[in-house]
């Protein structure tokens, strides 16, 4: 079977779907970021709308709850003048597979052009892309532990915006590396953009054993030493229930980012977080609200990057 990286490209190497940053050619990542930049105005309110998808219909297909990601996709699609429908489909209703395919076939029959899919199963968008009609494009809005590629691209965009060429940077990511689809996509994107120094930091239970580019650190200070970019991840409460961590407090003691600890990183280091943040767990309020934090830029950039990706998978080739 084709890998996810193969499945998302056309014969000519353009985006047919957007499923993963793994194996995504560097020139396509740069094109996404360059195109996103054209949608940004001077302030978050001035996002430049363009009717590039007028008459096309985008269906947000969310099998897993997510208000934030779904909303940014809605705003992005509307910013391109697409018709947008959002559907929350509980996974229990599609626990049997044929009904997942049945759901798809029904939506296809309604004439959708693009599905934005979030699902709690790794590979579900891949599965959908394999079984849908060829006219339909799939954008992965997060699948299981596998990938969250639009989040990763908005992070790359934000890093480039603040720190320039990603190839020369030291990037540290702290938290639940092992169970994070965001990290997988970030690491593939960083690697694809030439970043040579990626540090993945967390306690042993939250680090992967193998399979990701980057060095593994269970010591925070060692991991963020001289880093230009520090990315904190949201700590999920379930990690305590499944005996991966003793408590949030202990996580904070060992791995929580504070303004003081940021002193270990490079001067002018930026701090990022995919949101929503647990203040006082993975990051202190003082740091989250400081000049080092670019967390709110990430949110605005997320809309522009998603506009770029939606227009590219819909085959809008015009140079903007």
């Amino acid at each position: 079977m084709p890998s996810t990286a193969q499945l998302q490209l056309t014969d000519k190497g353009r985006l047919r779907h957007f499923l993963t940053t793994e194996g995504l050619p560097k020139d396509l990542m740069i094109e996404i970021m360059d195109r996103a930049a054209t949608f940004l105005g001077d302030t978050p309110r001035d996002l430049k709308k363009r009717p590039l998808l007028k008459g096309r219909s985008v269906v947000n297909l969310f099998f897993e709850n997510s208000t934030r990601t779904r909303t940014t996709f809605e705003i992005a699609a509307k910013g391109l003048s697409a018709d947008v429908v959002s559907l929350d489909i509980s996974t229990s209703a599609t626990a049997k597979g044929e009904s997942l395919l049945d759901t798809l076939k029904n939506l296809e029959a309604m004439g959708a052009d693009l599905f934005v899919v979030r699902h709690n199963q790794s590979g579900a968008p891949h599965f959908i892309a394999q079984h849908c009609t060829p006219e339909l494009a799939i954008v992965n809005a997060g699948d299981g532990l596998h990938a969250h590629p639009t989040q990763a691209m908005l992070d790359m965009f934000t890093i480039r915006q603040h720190k320039g060429d990603i190839a020369n940077l030291k990037v540290a990511i702290i938290g639940d590396i092992r169970h994070s689809r965001v990290v997988r996509s970030q690491v593939h994107a960083l690697h694809g953009l030439g970043c040579q120094d990626i540090r993945l930091i967390g306690p042993g239970t939250l680090l992967p054993r193998q399979g990701l580019a980057g060095s593994l650190h269970d010591d925070l200070r060692e991991g963020i030493q001289d880093a230009d970019v520090v990315i904190c991840l949201r700590l999920q409460k379930e990690r305590m229930a499944s005996a991966l961590l003793p408590s949030e407090a202990e996580f904070h003691r060992n791995y929580g980012m504070t303004l003081e600890r940021l002193g270990w990183a490079a001067p002018n280091a930026i701090v990022m977080h995919p949101g929503p943040i647990n203040r006082g767990v993975e990051i202190d309020s003082e740091l989250a609200d400081s000049d080092h934090s670019v967390i709110l830029n990430q949110v605005t950039n997320g809309i522009a990057v998603r506009m770029a990706i939606l227009s590219m998978v819909m085959g809008v080739e015009e140079r903007l």
Partner: protein, 292 residues
Amino acid sequence: MSLASVGLIDLCCRLGETPSQTLAQAQELGYDVLTLPPYETPPENSPVRLAKLGPITQELDGEHLAEMARYQAGGVVGVTQGHAPWKNTRVQLNALRYARGQNLPVHALPLDSELGRGVAHDGEIAQRLGLETQPSAAETIALARDLQLIAETGVTAHIGRISCAESVRLIRRAKAEGLPITCDVAVTHLLWNEAKIEGYDYRYRLQPVLRSEADQMALIEGLAEGVIDAVCSDHTPHPVADKRLPFAQAAPGAETLHLLRSGLMALVDQGRLTEQQAISAVLDAPAKILKL
């Protein structure tokens, strides 16, 4: 006698939703005997000889001993817990002791129920695909416990479907120490490894999971060396609706009746096994294990 023509004796085959069709296919592919796990319901007039395993606990609940003597009177060739979990080690010890008293062989499929929930081998590919992982220890922890209890009770035991190098090592050591056990591997695990799941290919979602290439090679060597006695099809047909799903949701198991002979022939052609070793793995060894 050649591998191409030998009548196959399979140590594990499930019949699926259309038992008659599975049996007809087995007959056409030259199977002489199929061993069925508990609770399979074959039609009355099977074209292939059937050997049945009974449950070792009631409904495989892992807690209450099954009426093994009654199953024995009904003609079962052994009892098994399959991959179903044991309530605790005390029940398992008692069950093996009881089976020993009935002179019933036990077919053990070692798998730790918690670690065994992972859907892919704990390696680079599963990490990358974001699939819940099943380390080899899911098998070896249960195998080590099974071996201890087999030694403790003196029951006649067969270990089924091992999947990793470490299990081959444990079985080799147990045999060297004189424990009278036999062992099999599914043909799938001799032919394939974890690379097959790339692209979330749900056809290769198996239990136990496909492991690393090094594990695959260790299984082939274990067979050639005689540590592993037999090879089975582990045929597991599922309706397409249960299989054509996102990887982790797909029902584990594959239709593999056609692979047992052809797969072994391929290994013989590659020089990894002698034809005699391959024949023994699907004829002499399983006949002895089933006491046919």
